[in-house]
């Protein structure tokens, strides 16, 4: 056979081979797009209004994507061992991706997360304890939120105002980061700062009944618990502010119990966690660190459209 025939035949054959390879690849992509992924979400404690908002985002993502969801809540708040067991159990049950809101940097939990990360896709939300060891970390910048809170507190400060920081009994790592950032900011400004540990169902007695005090909670659960408790004091209640969102926080902002709140979008957090997991499972490129915006909500701006959309996930 002449050389040009061999060349032409080879070219045609190569072209055919490329087409076949691309068709196979396309078929694989199609299958990948239509695969139902097993995703487990392990939150850090019991369900509450904040996690309900997160769950709405998760549900939205589940309805948009092909996901079979396991949503795991804890029996106890801040129990690292229980969370570690839940992670291991979900991996053993065939979860392809784990979304976790870690309680803290506990050895047992760290071991479980690292083991899971070797087998499945792991997305960390709300903290960056395992950043770099998991596939993606999604959160609002804790330090920035705490600093925004501190600046707002200082802006609204009046003569003789004292600050009390409210912390849960076993503050998780991300709360400690917020705490550290806030206390540094306040102390730098010469403010007097103390703190109160807030149990799951706090009594009124643990809160200072002093209108010259400004209390700051660093998470939605503590903020809501404090607001519910001190709301009975009405005009005698100390000033309350904090980091958190959801309908309950909005309610207490609106009725004046909470002076203001720094809110991130819990809905977005839930949605993006599932989307990132699915994107990674589909082989798409995702950011290793996704930082979300947050807003300062007051009684005056609570019904601005953007804030409505942030605080009240659209329920159809």
């Amino acid at each position: 056979m002449k050389r040009q025939y061999v060349f032409a035949f080879t070219a045609v054959f190569l072209l055919l081979a490329i087409i076949i390879v691309m068709l196979i690849q396309d078929s694989k992509d199609y299958n990948r797009r239509n695969t139902v992924y097993e995703v487990a979400v392990v939150i850090r404690g019991k369900p509450n209004s904040y996690w309900d908002a997160v769950k709405q985002g998760i549900d939205q993502a589940v309805s948009n994507m092909s996901v079979d969801l396991s949503y795991i809540t804890m029996e106890n708040d801040y129990d690292a061992k229980e969370q570690a067991e839940a992670i291991r159990r979900e991996v053993d049950n065939g979860a392809q991706a784990i979304v976790i809101a870690p309680i803290g940097d506990e050895p047992e939990l760290r071991k479980a997360v690292e083991e899971a990360a070797r087998q499945v896709v792991v997305i960390e939300i709300e903290s960056r304890i395992f950043e770099g060891k998991v596939n993606s970390t999604i959160l609002a910048d804790n330090k920035a939120m705490a600093e925004a809170l501190g600046k707002a507190m200082l802006n609204r400060r009046y003569e003789g105002e004292k600050y009390v920081l409210l912390l849960p009994e076993q503050p998780p790592d991300y709360l400690l980061k917020r705490y550290a950032a806030l206390i540094q900011l306040l102390e730098n400004e010469g403010a007097q700062v103390s703190f109160v540990t807030v149990p799951a169902n706090p009594g009124l007695d643990i809160f200072p009944q002093d209108t010259t005090v400004c209390m700051a909670a660093l998470d939605s659960v503590t903020l809501q618990a404090a607001a519910e408790t001190i709301s009975v004091l009405k005009e005698d209640a100390p000033k309350l502010c904090g980091i958190g969102g959801g309908a309950a926080v909005a309610y207490y902002i609106e009725n004046g119990t909470i002076d203001f709140a720094i809110s991130e979008s819990a809905f977005n957090l839930g949605y993006l966690s599932i989307k990132s997991a699915v994107d990674i499972l589909r082989g798409q490129k995702t950011e290793k660190l996704i930082e979300m915006d947050f807003r300062t909500i007051t009684a005056q701006n609570i019904y601005e459209m953007e804030n409505q959309r942030l605080l009240f996930p659209f329920v159809k």
Binding site: V12, Y251, K316
Partner: protein, 601 residues
């Protein structure tokens, strides 16, 4: 224009100047590619139009249905508002009676569609409200959009965009997304009429239910915007509100009813718009072109397949055209070779019937030409031989006259023996010259002829030279052309012995070496320079000599005509020393006319 025409002509000339296979292959491929593209484009356009018509029809029907349902829903809401206004509020003296009972009945009857019913005074105070009636202390109703719209355009019903209903106090942290329908109403207090605002807060789920199950293909959807492009309903409303998704709603609000195409976030979309009668809302149906006309999605594969098809076609065309063109090209090469050299060229005959016929015809023609040429050459050679032979055979009249004159002179001197010798030599000379018309004689006869000639010339020019003839006995019966030695001897006597005084020697030696036969004629005459000797064997026209070379050239021609170009004469001459001319012949036995070797001669 002229330049263009010239370029066109040049391009055409260049194209058709290429090889037959190239022209054939390119023409086939071009026609096929153009054909494929034309047919493909026509099919694509036809299918595209057909698909788009179908999609447009489907969109229109679905949007009509959505519009009908939505219109019904809104009319029901408007009916509630009308009922509340015309049958309850207008007929109730609020100074004496509350509208709550009727309002409650109406609310209960439409509970699944309503969030609240409320009547406000122009100052924003709650007159009546159901199911909640305690206004939040922080709320200023008069600043709400639905309230200001109702007050500013008193004749109309006003529909808001979805928003959080934040009017009434509730302790369960419940915040509802609603669409508010408001209107200005007249409130009767005894004999006085005051103005107020009637608010019907529609549960957003009512609108959502109308649109939720509407599917436009797998990925298409329907959404609703108001006049300003604010989204009323969208299947991905949560994500849009969370800024995780965006929609082309602002642009779409400016579309007129009908079909449109748009590109949003890099995706081509087919959009159908339908305006809802009273509200001015627009129902917008969106389908992605990648789904409507999946050709665009598979366009890459289609392009690859097309490329493959074209490549395959070019390959096949190249193969087929080579099968057609190769025999013609081989024929053309053969004919070109024939043009260069006629000898022994055989034309390859192959390919299609016509090409084979052409090849055979050329082959036949070439055979004919070769035969004719061979004949011409042969005839030419024969003619040349005849001419040379005739020329050679002619007896120089001067020689005959001189010989006879010498005989007379000898007889007059009484030298009868010499006369007899001379007459005898002359007689033998003529006998061998004639040789019964044969041109090939034995070496013996040729040497005899030379001897007789020398004898005659020796008698004519006594004491001028002497001669010796030596021959190997075995070559005497070999064949030679007749009368090839005599012209050389004649030259030797005329030119070589001219200035020799009595000691001239002409020597003839005949011998063989291998398959060759040599006859050397040497003299010790004047000799000649090398360049003159070389000129003697060239064509007479080129020679500058006095004509003495004609005889040698003719001898050379005759030898080569009979024996071939490798035979002939060699001249070795040294001025003042002598000349040696070597006749080189093929050694072959003499065969007489009967075909028998003449061993006796």
């Amino acid at each position: 224009m002229v330049k263009l025409r010239k370029q066109k002509k040049k391009a055409s000339h260049e194209f058709f100047g290429k090889s037959f296979q190239f022209v054939l292959s390119l023409s086939f491929s071009s026609i096929a590619v153009i054909g494929m593209l034309v047919v493909g484009t026509a099919l694509y356009v036809t299918f595209y139009r057909s698909t788009m018509d179908t999609v447009a029809t489907e969109h229109r029907q679905i949007l009509e249905q959505v519009n009908w349902n939505l219109d019904n829903y809104l009319r029901n809401m408007m009916k509630i508002s009308d009922t509340m206004f015309f049958r309850v509020i207008k007929n109730t003296n609020l100074a004496e009676k509350s509208v709550i009972p009727e309002m409650s009945l109406l609310y209960e009857a439409n509970r699944d569609r309503l969030v609240s019913l409320a009547v406000f005074s122009e100052e924003g105070e709650v007159i009546s409200a159901i199911p909640l009636s305690s206004l939040k202390p922080t709320v200023d109703v008069t600043q709400q959009g639905w309230f200001t719209s109702a007050r500013s355009q008193i004749e109309n019903l006003h529909f808001s965009t979805p928003h959080i209903q934040n009017l009434f106090d509730n302790t369960d942290y419940r915040y509802n997304w609603v669409v508010s329908l408001s209107r200005r109403v007249e409130l009767t207090y005894g004999g006085n009429v005051k103005y107020g605002v009637l608010l019907v807060d529609m549960n957003f789920s009512g609108i959502e239910q109308i649109c939720r199950r509407v599917n436009l293909g797998d990925t298409g959807y329907v959404y609703i915007v108001d006049n300003d492009g604010e989204i009323i309903y969208h299947p991905m409303q949560r994500l849009i509100y969370a800024n995780l998704l965006s929609e082309n709603n602002i642009t779409a609000a400016s579309y007129k009813d009908g079909n449109h195409t748009e590109t949003f976030e890099g995706k081509d979309r087919f959009v159908t718009v339908k305006t809802v009668g009273y509200t001015g809302w627009k129902i917008i149906g969106v389908s992605y072109m990648s789904e409507v006309t999946p050709y665009s999605e598979i366009s890459f594969f289609a392009a690859l397949l097309l490329l493959f098809a074209i490549s395959l076609m070019i390959f096949v065309n190249y193969f087929v055209s080579s099968r057609i063109a190769n025999p013609i090209m081989i024929l053309e090469r053969s004919v070109r070779d024939v043009d260069r050299a006629y000898a022994n060229i055989n034309i390859d005959v192959g390919g299609s019937y016509e090409v084979r016929n052409l090849g055979q015809a050329i082959n036949a023609m070439l055979t004919q030409i070769r035969m004719l040429m061979d004949e011409v050459v042969a005839e030419h050679e024969l003619k040349r031989k005849s001419e040379l032979d005739a020329l050679q055979s002619q007896i120089n009249p001067h020689f005959l006259y001189n010989a006879l004159d010498s005989i007379v002179w000898i007889i007059e001197n009484g030298e009868y023996n010499k006369a007899v010798l001379m007459v005898t030599a002359l007689s033998r000379l003529f006998r061998i010259s004639i040789s019964k018309g044969r041109n090939i004689i034995t070496v013996r006869d040729e040497l005899e002829h030379a001897r007789n000639y020398l004898t005659i010339q020796g008698i004519r020019f006594p004491n001028r030279f002497r001669f010796e003839i030596n021959a190997e006995p075995e070559i005497l019966d070999m064949a030679t052309i007749k009368l090839i030695v005599q012209p050389i001897i004649e030259n030797a006597i005329d030119h070589g012995m001219d200035h020799v005084d009595e000691d001239g020697v002409i020597k003839i030696d005949a011998f063989s070496q291998g398959d060759d036969l040599y006859i050397e004629i040497s003299d010790n005459g004047a000799g000649m320079p090398e360049d003159v000797a070389a000129e003697l064997l060239k064509a007479p026209a080129r020679t500058k000599s006095s004509g003495s070379g004609i005889g040698l050239f003719n001898v050379q021609e005759r030898i080569q005509l009979y024996f071939g170009r490798q035979y002939g004469l060699t001249i070795q001459s040294v001025p003042d020393e002598g000349t040696k001319i070597i006749i080189h012949l093929a050694k072959m036995p003499y065969v007489d006319e009967s075909g028998q070797e003449d061993g006796n001669k």
